[in-house]
């Protein structure tokens, strides 16, 4: 007497569809990923209930921490024009190599006086340079004033749009530093700007 044999099924699964989905998702994530720009000074941003997202183009950011201001503007083309404006302002001649280096620079964390030298450094050398930040004070024409002014001009020239400015401040930053920056912005009639915050759930 022979027992009825149970048909053995293959344990292999067709992976093709799964593979397709996996690669589709992978492509999506790779394309949507934006390299994270590491801030030269850490700023612990305050929380608020605002839900408006930051713009990604035509946008300049002022990072404020430890009493220093670090300026950055989005877009390599805008950066190039900004530096050209600054070169005119401070009578500094930048070589094409330096201009190219500036286009790839995420933020301006040194004074304009040493910027030329800074641009000629390698990444390792730059890391060891003390981040003094952009000089800002209560005088009429400080460095930050000209950076913002030239960035606004550059954005107008390249994209024909108004540059949006946002302040990313450290929570523990003392108000006088912020007041100095606001005054600098107001001197060029920038009365509307953003404060970068993280999202907090409202305690109702």
């Amino acid at each position: 007497m022979s027992r009825a044999k149970v048909q053995r099924k293959s344990t292999a699964i067709d992976m093709t569809a799964m593979c397709d989905v996996a690669f589709l998702l992978l492509t999506f994530f790779i394309l949507s990923a934006k390299p994270k720009v590491e801030d030269p000074i850490h700023a612990d941003i305050p929380a608020s209930t605002t839900i408006a997202a930051l713009p990604e183009v035509d946008f300049a950011q002022l990072l404020v921490a430890q009493g220093k201001v670090i300026f950055s503007v989005e877009g390599a083309d805008v950066r190039l024009e900004t530096l050209k404006g600054m070169a005119d302002q401070y009578k500094i001649n930048f070589t094409p190599d330096e201009l190219k280096a500036f286009q790839n620079l995420d933020n301006v964390s040194v004074s304009i006086g040493v910027l030329k030298q800074y641009l000629n450094m390698t990444n390792q050398e730059r890391a060891s340079v003390a981040k003094t930040g952009v000089q800002v004070d209560t005088t009429d024409s400080n460095e930050l004033y000209w950076w913002v002014k030239n960035a606004r001009k550059a954005d107008k020239l390249v994209h024909n749009k108004e540059l949006k400015i946002a302040i990313k401040g450290d929570s523990k930053e003392e108000y006088p530093t912020i007041a100095k920056i606001i005054k600098t912005l107001q001197k060029q009639k920038v009365n509307k700007f953003g404060l970068i915050t993280s999202l907090k759930t409202a305690t109702k």
Partner: protein, 179 residues
């Protein structure tokens, strides 16, 4: 391929020897493994929570002629002192309509005062309350943001950040939130 042979032995001997057809199927398991590993990596490295921006509009400094007189009865002044404390009063600093009181942020702090006084002003004059925010030199940036946020929560539209005056600094010193 990691497939079990289910053909069940097969004929032994005899018959014509046929060349076995090679399967065209490729084992995709390793490829899928790799793809999911990369997906996991990209999901984890993308910043899910993007930073938000709170809009701040400052009063225009240049147009002096354009400024409207502000009635003291509709004005609330909030002084931001040290240690996350605020002090508020209605009316003018030299001659406040309500006694200045020290409070904190949050539901039972300044928000309650903003809501109560806002309603009171609206009932009396039929127009919204104006809030003047005066951050002192001892206040921090996060306090200023919290204050603006409180105003956003209560839905106040008429507000301005103004420089603090010496009289108000003295007031903060008196109440011990200026150190």
């Amino acid at each position: 391929m990691a497939e079990l042979d289910t053909s069940g032995g097969g004929k032994k001997g005899g018959g014509k020897v046929r060349s076995k057809k090679a399967s065209t199927r490729v084992d995709l398991t390793a490829m899928v493994d790799l793809a999911f590993l990369l997906i996991t990596f990209f999901i984890l490295t993308t910043t899910l929570q993007k930073p938000k921006a709170m809009d701040l509009t400052m009063p225009d400094k240049d147009e002096k002629n354009d400024q409207l007189p502000v009635p003291a009865t509709r004005t609330m002044t909030v002084l931001i002192g040290a240690n996350n404390k605020v002090e508020w009063f209605m009316g003018q600093p030299g001659n406040p309509l309500t006694a200045p009181s020290v409070t904190g942020f949050g539901k039972n702090g300044i928000r309650q005062a903003l809501l109560d006084k806002g309603k009171e002003v609206l009932a009396k004059s039929g127009r919204p309350m104006i809030v003047l925010i005066k951050p002192s030199d001892k206040s921090t940036y996060s306090d200023m943001v919290s204050m603006m946020d409180e105003l956003n929560i209560v839905g106040n539209q008429q507000r301005a950040i103004v420089d603090i005056t010496p009289v108000e600094v003295d007031l903060l010193k008196r109440d011990g939130i200026y150190n």
